[in-house]
Amino acid sequence: MTDSHPWQAVIGLEIHAQLSTTSKLFSDASTAYGADPNTQISAVDVALPGTLPVPNRAARDKAIRFGLAIGAQIARKSIFARKNYFYPDLSKGYQISQYELPIVGSGKLVVRTDDGRTLEVEIQRAHLEEDAGKSLHDVFHAATGIDFNRAGVPLLEIVSAPVLHSAQDAVAYMRTVHTLVRWLGICDGNMQEGSFRCDANVSVRPLGETKLGTRTEIKNVNSFRFVEKAIEYEIERQIRALENGERLVQETRLYDAAHHHTRPMRSKEDADDYRYFPDPDLPPLMVTDTDIATIRAGLPELPQARRQRYLETLGLSDADAAQLCADKATADYFEAVLTALPGQAKLCANWVLGELAAALNAGGLAIESSRVSAVAFAHLLRRVHDATISGKIAKDVFAAMWTGEGDADAIIETRGLTQISDVGALAAAVDAVLVEFPVQLADYRGGNEKLLQFFVGQIMKRTRGQANPQQLNTLLREKLHS
């Protein structure tokens, strides 16, 4: 935890990303979220006798897409296996998953932490599996209700190696995976709807020890903040227990956000032995070189590569590049602005991450629904770049564009906002102000240089903010020192 502590936490994450297909992994029922209970089920999903699973090609292709993006080996032949356990929302009494031969082998992901470090996280494997149904314990007094709409929805389980050492790093890794799956268009990443969730395996060991300690698994946490808090709590709990001379048991625990603690899950006490075996209903899953080449050819430029390009080719700061590449829509918007205003990467980045992000945030909008198009936005920035308006005025123009008053030029025109760059007009304004404030002028000339800003403010007021700031500065200094 803290640097002074002699313990090291070891964390591995199992992330479940729901693959964004329209139909289920093994049946032709819909995966759409939010339907009435049990209206999107087929005989396969509720495991009627005699039904057989027929796999969805799109789910396979999305899994391969992920594998290629993390540089993993794609298995030319992988196997679906039955994971056996009993729970009312698991209709067949087993979940179809992959065990010994997953479709995606080991790969790696470069993660940038909040404090600017770079981690290379090994991903051990990613495999295809079906989701279970949903148990509703609170609807009926004496019974549990089961909704099988989720049953059979395709998941990609992404398993990291136990190589993370703090809750913060674990969350940074989880965010990077979240960005990647959305970037690839294989998962919508919606955590409220359960499309992206995570189990965390946590253990601690004395710093310097290489053997892993006894681990616990925290199940099904579905927000970044809760993952961080749950892992932090679990690390502290384990250290406290070990320092008190207690023995830890390997178990599954549930994070309770309301009380900020983890507790053992009773239903999982017996579940350590899943008796996996190859599913006889499903022959091996074959992937050809052509399949892989086709999917590889359709991969977009990946977030890590794009961030690098923004740093090296466009000269953006590390923080700006990382923020723009946090999701593909933002990066694409930025590039559309930059295409319309070539060579002005820094200006475009500042405005996309500044005014535009603030307006989207205030309106609760995704960038795809921005009220100002990239082209219109670029046009506004062009007027800043060619000094028609100052940056300060541009913010007002942007606000007007946001409320639908028209394009940048029309607003500048009708409101008479064009910047005063005419030396004669500016000089007159400067002179007038210097005459109006003789005391301050004498003070300034006596050595109080802070008063420069006072004069700038007065002139801006007189010109309604339309003075070209650079020109004003030069002119004012000339006059003050003459």
Binding site: T21, T22, S23, S27, D28, A29, S30, D36, P37, N38, T39, Q40, I41, S42, A43, V46, L48, V54, P55, N56, R57, A58, A59, R60, I79, N84, F86, Y87, P88, L101, S135, L136, H137, V139, F140, A142, A143, T144, G145, I146, D147, F148, L254, M265, R266, S267, D270, D273, R275, P278, P280, L282, P283, P284, L285, M286
Partner: protein, 95 residues
């Protein structure tokens, strides 16, 4: 491999099978004989033979990603021993 009564009890619990204590020794003996039979395969020369996941030399056939299911919810729910409000009902599960 020797199966003892403790193993039988454990796998019976995992499989939700009820085996009377008096039957444990007999079942253990029967399972041991089944496994002994399978163990004879260990003597077969298997170097270079890939483990078999499926007895037939088939590859999976794929379905296109489309929703073609008709809404069978009513028919399917009607098969359940108990259903209410569109939900299958089971005895209360306490987490």
């Amino acid at each position: 491999m020797r199966i003892d009564p403790a193993i039988v009890r454990r796998i019976a619990r995992l499989a939700r099978l009820s085996i009377a204590d008096g039957d444990l020794a007999r079942v253990a003996g029967e399972l041991t004989r089944v496994l002994d039979l399978a163990d004879q395969l260990a003597d077969a020369p298997l170097a270079g033979v890939e483990p078999m996941a499926h007895p037939q030399a088939l590859a999976l056939s794929w379905r296109d990603d489309a929703v073609t299911a008709s809404d069978d919810a009513g028919t399917l729910l009607a098969l359940a021993p108990e259903a209410r409000g569109g939900l299958y009902l089971v005895p209360k599960v306490i987490e």
